[in-house]
Amino acid sequence: MSRKRAVTCTINGHEEQFLTEPRQTLLSALRDTLDMTGTKEGCSNGNCGACTVILDGLPVVSCLVLAVECDGSRVDTIEGVAQPEKLSPVQQSFLENAALQCGICTPGFIMQTGALLKDNPNPTEDEIRFYLAGNLCRCTGYDKIVKAVQQTAETAGAC
C-alpha cells in the first residue's frame, strides 16, 4: 500500500489541502476528493480536453496529471470562472452563440478559450481552431464554438 500524500495547492485562489494516493489523477482529486465536479471526464487519455484545467498558468488535461505533482501549484478550474452574480464574457458568449448542447465538453472549452484569449486577444480563425484542437465536441460541429470565441474577442476589444 502506498503512503498517502498531503497535497497543498491553490485552487481558484483558495488554499486547499487534501490527502491523495500517488495513483490518483488531478482530475479524480478535483471530482472525487474535492467534490468539484465542474471538470469533466471524457476519454481519460488526454485526447478530448473535457478535463482541461489551468495548472500554474498553463492549460493541461488533468487526466494526465497526478495530484501529487500539484503540491505547491496553482490550479484554476471552471468553478472559478463565473463571478458570483454573472457569467464571464466567455460563458456569456457561449450561451448567446449556442456553443453548447449537452455541455459535457463546455467547461474544458471555456478553460481553453480563456487561456487562448489571454495569450492571444485577437486570434485568427485558424489560430482559434488550432488552439482548441485538443477539445472535442460531439454535439455542436464546432462552428458555433469558434463564433463564440470570435465574439468574445471582438467584445473585449470593443471595451
Partner: protein, 300 residues
C-alpha cells in the same frame, strides 16, 4: 490504476539510485506514462518524478550547439527563438505533438523514451544529428539518436539508466531544417508518415553540401535514411534533386499495414513528404522563409 509509490528527487544521482531499484519508471510530462499505467501496459512499483532535477530542465542554445534537457516541456522549446531560428525542425515537431494541453506537459525526452516509431520529435532530431546523453549506475554515456531505438516501444536504456539531455551540433551557416507529417485530420493524430530533414547549402545557396533525412512511422523504429541523404550531397538545390531524394527515401522504408495506413500508401507519402520537406528546408536555409507558429508566442 495499480498502486505505486512516488518520489520526486532533486538530484540526478538520487534519481539514478531510485531507478536502479528495479521496478520503477521515470516520469516527466506524464502524457504517455500515466495513460500507459491506466491501461496496465506498465505497472511500476515506483514512479520517479524527474521534474525537479536541474540537468533535465535546462535548455542551452549557444555557439557550441543545443543542449536540450530531457524533461523540458514542448511548449518551452517552441517559445525559444534560437530553436525556431536554428533548429526549426524541433519547433515544427513540438508544435504538433498532441495539442496545446499536451504540449504544456509533454517532453521530447519522454517522446524519445516511449520510443514509438511515429514519434514526431524523433525524425526531427535525427535530421539535426542529435545525440542522447544517458546517466546510469555505471556512469554516463552518449548514444547517437539513430542507435537509441531498438524496436517499437524499445530503446537502449538499461536498468537504472535515464535520458538526461539531447544534444545537437550547431548548424553550419546556410542550414535549414523542417519536420512534417501526414495525418488524416488537422491536428492531434499520430503520424502516418513523418519526415525530418536538414540541409546545408554552399555560400551561393545553390548546391547542397550536407543533408540528413529522418523518417518516422515507416519502420519498427524511426529511421535515419543515410543513403537518400548522402545522394543529395553536391546536388543542386532544386526540384529534380528533391524528387530523386524522395524516391530514394522510399526504398529505405519498411512500413506495415495498420489502421492508419497501408504499406503502399506510406511508401508513396514518404517520397512526397521528403520532397516537400527538402523544399522548405532549403527555403529556410536561404533565409526565404522561417518557422511559423500556429499560436502567438511570447517574445524572447
Amino acid at each position: 490504476m495499480h498502486d505505486f509509490e512516488y518520489e520526486s528527487p532533486r538530484t540526478l544521482a538520487e534519481a539514478v539510485t531510485l531507478l536502479t531499484t528495479g521496478d520503477s519508471r521515470p516520469l516527466a510530462g506524464g502524457t504517455d506514462l500515466i495513460d500507459h499505467m491506466r491501461t496496465g501496459r506498465f505497472r511500476p512499483a515506483l514512479v520517479v518524478d524527474l521534474k525537479k532535477i536541474p540537468e533535465l530542465g535546462q535548455l542551452i542554445a549557444d555557439a557550441q550547439g543545443l543542449r536540450l534537457g530531457a524533461a523540458v516541456p514542448c511548449y518551452k522549446l517552441q517559445a525559444c527563438s534560437t530553436i525556431r531560428d536554428q533548429y526549426a525542425a524541433i519547433a515544427d515537431a513540438v508544435s504538433i505533438i498532441g495539442g496545446v494541453q499536451i504540449q504544456n506537459r509533454a517532453t521530447v525526452g519522454g517522446n524519445l523514451c516511449t520510443s514509438g516509431p511515429a514519434a514526431d520529435s524523433a525524425s526531427a532530431l535525427l535530421a539535426l544529428g542529435a545525440q542522447c546523453v544517458i546517466a546510469g549506475p555505471k556512469g554516463s554515456r552518449t548514444v547517437p539518436l539513430e542507435q537509441f531505438f531498438t524496436g517499437p516501444g524499445k530503446n537502449v536504456l538499461q536498468a537504472g539508466e535515464l535520458l538526461v539531455e539531447i544534444t545537437c551540433p550547431a548548424p553550419a551557416p546556410k542550414s535549414g531544417s523542417n519536420y512534417r507529417r501526414f495525418i488524416p485530420r488537422n491536428e492531434m493524430d499520430i503520424a502516418v508518415v513523418g519526415v525530418g530533414v536538414s540541409v546545408t547549402l554552399d555560400a551561393a545557396g545553390q548546391t547542397i553540401t550536407a543533408a540528413r533525412i529522418g523518417l518516422g512511422a515507416v519502420g519498427p523504429t524511426p529511421i535515419l535514411a543515410t543513403d537518400a541523404a548522402q545522394a543529395l550531397i553536391g546536388k543542386p538545390a532544386n526540384d529534380a534533386s528533391y524528387k530523386a531524394a524522395g524516391e530514394a527515401a522510399r526504398t529505405q522504408t519498411s512500413p506495415i499495414d495498420d489502421m492508419r495506413g497501408t504499406v503502399e500508401f506510406r511508401r508513396h507519402v514518404t517520397g512526397v513528404l521528403v520532397e516537400r520537406s527538402l523544399r522548405e528546408a532549403v527555403a529556410r536555409a536561404r533565409g526565404e522563409t522561417h518557422f511559423h507558429a500556429h499560436v502567438r508566442l511570447p517574445c524572447n
